[in-house]
């Protein structure tokens, strides 16, 4: 069965068009009064201190790494789930092996404290 993706492309054009038009419209009808204090970064009314774009906590990075591992796993499971009816016991054993391997890595990450916040 051929799948047509072009309706999504058309939808994208319409949505992007809407976003662009409404932003332009807002630019047109809204006032624009420049003011030094207004252009300052908002920091609860206090003078901004230093930069915001700086080094952040390593744990966000760990989460991103874990995400890659487990989301790729989920992606592997999707086609498996679709054809599961046809591959039966063989598929189940294969997937148990796959998940056991992953759970090993998962337990390692847990014990090393990667999941603690």
């Amino acid at each position: 069965m051929p799948v047509s993706w072009w309706p999504i492309g058309l939808f994208f054009i319409i949505v992007a068009g809407f976003a662009a038009t409404s932003l332009a419209l807002s630019k047109l009808v809204a006032p624009s009064r420049h003011n030094e204090a207004k252009a300052e970064t908002y920091e609860s009314g206090i003078r901004p201190l230093g930069e915001a774009q700086q080094r952040s906590d390593i744990r966000y990075y760990t989460v991103a790494m874990l995400f890659v591992v487990f989301d790729v796993e989920a992606i592997f499971l999707y086609p498996w789930a679709v054809v599961y009816d046809r591959i039966g016991l063989y598929g189940l054993i294969e997937m148990v092996l796959f998940i056991v391997l992953l759970v090993g890595a998962y337990l390692y990450a847990w014990r090393r404290g990667a999941l603690d916040w």
Partner: protein
């Protein structure tokens, strides 16, 4: 050519419908939360406040769109658009009712009937994260950066749980197409209990619901916008229509997960026939009814539960939901093979 115009009409109806429903969602939320707190809620604009969403929209449109001096201008302006577009594009694959025939032409109630609809939806929701992180980084504001980091870490964590919780329903349907998933839920158990996935997949359903709330940054998992500590999170610096786009995206995402929950676990547009109502409209009515249950549940949670702590949020996802989701897949596989 006729095909093109039918699709165009479908897109325009869907687009208008989603935006209108989303606008009234804000009204509905304020009313529900108000009632739960013994208040009245908006009631001044139009009869019983029904013009409130329109007034809000006009107000946001006429507010100054404004870029802070230290912000990265391109990233800052692009971010709301990047959050908004994928939120709406997801709707292209959601079926609203059974196919019907008009003038001898078969029309399906879905814009793009693709075979990998579920993966497409998850992919689109991942793209939405870019909007958030760009908004935070581009604003060059400490609250915004923190909100964006928290939000993206939360969204990607729960995306894993969300993706895994849906696998059980895919195994039952043997397809990633949302229409096929609905068709697999036709019929009844013991004569009267509908054959919806929520019964065999109750664990998956609970996991999905929890991670969907975290995925859309809603209370009690609304840490990215925790107003008591982060003011507003990643969209602190946005005003006017840039802010409106983030708002639109957030509420449309709420609608999206409600739609996925209805399709994957509550049988989508399946439902008993309502007398004197043609089948396609009947389907749409059931679909919307099921979605509104989830929407109401969102508001109910918001006015009931306090916010989680961030460490609780993360360990709930990685230490509880992830193993449970994997276990659910294994059990589903074994049950499907041997029972």
């Amino acid at each position: 050519m006729a095909e093109f115009f039918i699709t165009l009409i479908k897109i325009i109806v869907l687009f208008g419908g989603v935006l209108t429903v989303m606008a009234y969602l804000t009204y509905f939320e304020r009313k529900v939360v108000a009632r739960m707190q013994s208040r009245i809620g908006p009631n001044r604009t139009g009869p019983i406040g029904l013009m409130q969403p329109l007034a809000d929209g006009l107000k946001l449109l006429t507010k100054e769109p404004f870029v802070p001096r230290r912000a990265d201008k391109v990233v800052f302006l692009l971010a709301p658009v990047l959050a908004f577009i994928p939120a709406l594009l997801t709707w292209a694959v959601v079926p609203f009712g059974p196919d019907f025939t008009v003038l001898g032409r078969k029309i399906s109630m879905v814009v793009a009937d693709v075979n990998v609809a579920l993966i497409y939806m998850l992919a689109m929701s991942s793209v939405g994260v870019y909007g958030i992180i760009m908004a935070g980084w581009g604003s060059n504001n400490k609250y915004a950066v923190m909100g964006a980091l928290r939000s993206s870490a939360q969204v990607i964590s729960y995306e894993v749980a969300l993706g895994l919780s849906l696998i059980g329903t895919i195994m039952i349907a043997g397809s990633l197409n949302l229409g096929d998933i609905i068709h697999a839920q036709q019929g009844t158990y013991v004569g009267f209990v509908p054959r919806w996935n929520v019964i065999p997949q109750i664990v998956g359903f609970t996991l999905f619901l929890t991670s969907a709330i975290a995925e859309t940054n809603r209370a009690p998992f609304d840490l990215p916008e925790a107003e008591s500590e982060l003011v507003a999170g990643y969209h602190v610096e946005y005003s006017g229509f840039g802010f409106a786009m983030f708002f639109l995206a957030e509420y449309i995402n709420m609608l999206t997960v409600s739609a996925v929950a209805s399709v994957a676990f509550l049988g989508g547009w399946l439902g008993p026939a309502i007398p004197f109502v043609p089948a396609p409209i009947n389907g749409v009515v059931w679909m919307l009814l099921k979605m509104s249950i989830f929407i109401f549940f969102y508001f109910w949670l918001r006015s009931t539960l306090p916010r989680f702590r961030y460490d609780q949020l993360m360990s709930l996802c990685w230490k509880v939901m992830l193993p449970l989701a994997l276990l659910n897949i294994l059990v589903t596989g074994i049950v499907k093979l041997f029972v």
